[in-house]
């Protein structure tokens, strides 16, 4: 999938050398549904290929030029920022910018696993209850003060305080206490062992920012003028107009290769200006004219056409966000929806590839599993889905005595792939005689239905679980809103959340997948790919499964 990504040809030396190997590993995981490479007797080709890649790595700067410092990058963003306080925002449109201003204790590497961030290393006690973080020394906030263990404790306490209304609270509520051992060493004492604490701390879609206490107090309790430790500092934000960031010249490099959101952050570009342009066609026109350099989200309708543009590069890669069909398992008043056999029948009516073709022009990966294909926990077993089988669907419908009564399917037009998917799903279900009535509503109304369980069926997207445990919120009995409960599945989910062994967790998620297919509390449709476009002088863009670009520090301008 990444083959189409011209980012590989941009390859600023740092990023390519640093994490290329990891990237390939990840990509292989994502080559779902493609033919496996033959391995037997092909060693010489492997060596030749490796040699070629090494050659590209070495000569890339010579061919494509060394990264250049300086310049201003103008970025067209889908929406405006929704709040600036890093502990209070859940919206991607804010987090993707705050990620350049703030840093986390632990960052996420290219393979979506934790790597050092503000903590240069960490140890976990044998009982899994004590995390000791050793902080990098000499890291400065943008106000000039050094970041210390006190700031870490203050920041986490602030997120845990209900008054902060932090959306991250549920992911850190396992923390029981903090101990400051010295200026650069801090301990987190947990209530229970957890395999997900580090990954949640590193999650690029949470800021989990370390902030300076004095700035919060100075600003009256809300950090509306961000002050962090990141490679870019905040200059100005005018709502609905622009956000301006400037390179933080005193940024102390961690001294480890760049990968994911971690490692060295060279920050080649001096100034970044974000313009919120809600209308996708206006954003594209601005890109074509050169009013913006970089469009963060290209609609799939325009993507293939844009590839032909001589001044523009398009970028595409697998994403973590996924679309799915949910059922009001025990919350719906519809007696059919409440039966697993009926829900499975729905599964047998669906052709996931056709849904991908119709809703996103084929630019995503059909995936029947709750585990995203871009994650290291995805395995062959997760490829097993229902597969289209109208005969089987009809059999199951007969078994539950379905009488053709209407089933309400809720959706929204705000995210076009949702709307296009439900139109296709309606047709597909009609083939087996299922009578679907579409109920198209505004996004907040759909969200309200999704989180109250008051629906028969609904199509919605999850913005991207960085760990499979996050996707399990749709099926675990204590975390879903539709009253679905399967004790065995609950036990597996809980066990997977305390095991630290990736292979053991992988096995558990495979077992969960089997139960999930049998009960069909939701039906996953596809993992949504990421699409971006930039003018050709913008270099160093590397597609990562997290929805938007989070790594402006690796980009540079060739003009």
């Amino acid at each position: 999938m990444l083959i189409r990504n011209p980012a590989a040809t941009n390859c600023p030396r740092n990023s390519m050398l640093a994490s290329g190997g990891e990237s390939f590993g990840n990509t292989n995981n994502q080559m779902k549904g493609r033919k496996e490479m033959k391995t037997r007797g092909s060693n010489k080709w492997v060596f030749a290929f490796a040699g070629m890649v090494m050659g590209m790595m070495v000569f890339c700067p010579a061919v494509y030029g060394q990264p250049k410092y300086g310049g201003t990058l103008v970025v067209g963003s889908v929406g405006d920022m929704v709040g600036l306080d890093p502990h209070m925002v859940a919206a991607e449109s804010s987090i993707m910018w705050l990620t350049s201003i703030y840093e986390r204790l632990v960052e996420l590497n290219e393979n979506n696993l934790p790597m050092p961030g503000l903590a240069k290393k960490w140890t976990i006690s044998n009982d899994g209850l004590t995390y000791t973080f050793n902080l990098r020394e000499g890291v400065k906030f943008h106000n000039g003060r050094e970041m210390t263990a006190e700031d870490v404790v203050y920041s986490y306490k602030r997120m845990l305080d209900p008054k902060t209304k932090s959306p991250y609270i549920s992911h850190i509520k396992n923390i029981n206490d903090f101990k400051i051992l010295d200026k650069y060493t801090v301990q987190f004492i947990m209530k229970a062992p957890s395999s997900t604490f580090l990954i949640f701390t590193a999650n690029p879609m949470y800021t989990n920012a370390i902030v300076p206490k004095e700035e919060v107090e100075k600003q009256g309790g809300t950090l509306n003028h961000p002050v962090g430790t990141g490679p870019y500092k905040f200059v100005e934000y005018v709502p609905d107009k622009h956000l301006i960031l400037e390179k933080f010249k005193e940024y102390k490099q961690p001294g480890i290769p760049s990968s994911g959101t971690g490692g060295d952050k060279p920050a080649y570009i001096d100034r970044i200006k974000m313009l919120p342009i809600k209308d996708a066609s206006v954003r594209l026109m601005a890109l074509e004219k050169g009013d913006i350099d970089y469009d963060l989200r290209v609609p799939w309708e325009e993507f293939d056409e844009l590839k032909k543009h001589s001044e523009i590069n398009v970028y595409e890669g697998p994403g973590l966000a996924f679309y799915f069909l949910g059922f009001g398992v025990n919350s719906s008043s519809n007696k059919f929806v409440r039966q697993a056999a009926f829900r499975r029948a729905v599964g047998y009516c669906l052709d996931l590839q056709e849904i991908v073709e119709g809703s996103v022009f084929g630019h995503s990966t059909p995936n029947p599993s709750l585990v995203s294909a871009a994650l290291p926990f995805f395995s062959e077993a997760h490829k097993k889905g229902y597969g289209k089988n109208i005969g089987k669907a009809k059999e199951l419908l007969k078994e539950v005595g379905y009488d053709g009564s209407p089933i309400r399917l809720s959706a929204t037009k705000l995210y076009l792939p949702i709307y296009k998917s439900v139109v296709l799903i309606q047709q597909m279900l009609a083939e087996a005689g299922i009578n679907v009535k579409l109920d198209v509503m505004e996004w907040p109304a759909l969200l309200s239905e999704a989180l109250s369980g008051k629906y028969d069926m609904l199509c919605i997207a999850d913005s991207g679980p960085v760990d499979p445990s996050m996707a399990m919120r749709w099926v675990h009995s204590k975390r879903n809103y539709v009253g679905y409960k399967n004790d065995k599945l609950d036990a597996f989910v809980e066990k997977a959340e305390i095991l630290n062994d990736v292979e053991a967790r992988k096995k558990l998620y495979e077992q969960i997948h089997e139960i999930y297919l049998e009960d069909a509390p939701i039906i996953k449709l596809f993992d949504h790919s990421v699409a971006m476009a930039a003018r050709k002088h913008v270099k160093g863009i590397r597609v990562w499964p997290h929805a938007a670009n989070l790594r402006y520090h690796l980009m540079w301008l060739d003009k």
């Binding site: 929406g79 405006d80 929704v82 709040g83 600036l84 306080d85 209070m88 859940a90 919206a91 209900p162 008054k163 209304k165 959306p167 609270i169 549920s170 809300t222 509306n224 005018v238 709502p239 609905d240 107009k241 622009h242 313009l275 919120p276 342009i277 809600k278 209308d279 066609s281 206006v282 026109m285 601005a286 074509e288 004219k289 009013d291 509503m441 505004e442 996004w443 907040p444 109304a445 969200l447 309200s448 239905e449 999704a450 989180l451 919605i460 997207a461 999850d462 913005s463 996050m470 919120r473 204590k478 975390r479 809103y481």
Partner: protein, 315 residues
Amino acid sequence: MKIYLIKRLIQSIPVLLLIGVMVFFLIRLIPGDPALVLLGERSEPGEVEAIRHEMGLDKPIYIQFLIWVSKMSRGDFGKSITYQMDIIHLILQRLPVTLTFGVFSTLLALLISVPSGIIASVHQNTYKDYLFTLFAVFGVSIPGFWLALMFVIFFSVKLGWFPTMGYVSPFENFLKGMHHLILPCVSHGVLLAAIIARMTRSSMLEVLRQDYITTAKGKGLPMFRVVYKHALKNAFAPTLTVIGFQLGNILGGAIITETIFSLPGIGQFIYSAIGQRDYPVIQACILLTAVGVVLINIFVDLLYSYFDPRVRYEG
């Protein structure tokens, strides 16, 4: 006059109160919850309740209303749920944009519409009138977003004359500001001009048929004087009403134009706030817009007496 003004201002209080009540309760009738929008689709049971509690959304609705009214009466518009900033600060940031855009596009509309309406009425049933009718029908029927997009494609992307979007205040940098404002003002002004021009034409036609105009013509007054001194002044009152009405509309934000040209004005603000279910922002914006509309209407009413001396305002 003064007594009339005071009377009108007092009369507007119940109107504003009614609008306040309607906005407060109607926005809460729309499905959706600001706590859910804030937390996103991944929020888990318990979290939403906690945030709702912090926002005071778990209190009975009449208590929430009383709290809001009491705060508003003290001039406290509250904080935006999404931005966590004072609403008045956020509105004041955007108001100059909407006002600048509104004033310039209305001026442009007046420059086009009044002369063309007059010419069409004076030359009724000639090619000039037909051309005018074509323009007016075009302006009234064309969708605003389509025209704006066509302008961007042609004048910005193809010809490269104007920026595709963005805003620079003309008070900071006049030339650059106007460069950014021309396309939005023209695309909005053309639509506005069509509405005003149609009204100018029809009221002018009515006045031009009056006896005193025939008398003026019979006295041998030049046509220019007849039209501008005698006819237009009388015919302008209905046009003024339409202009006042349109100004009120702009104050509420020309949402489509602001969105397409990424103008950081009130329209975009209300639009986003509705999407985010940011109740305090929606309430404050709509109430302030209502105040603006009421004031503009009072001003327009007062202007009537200038155009029509028969209108007298007495207590």
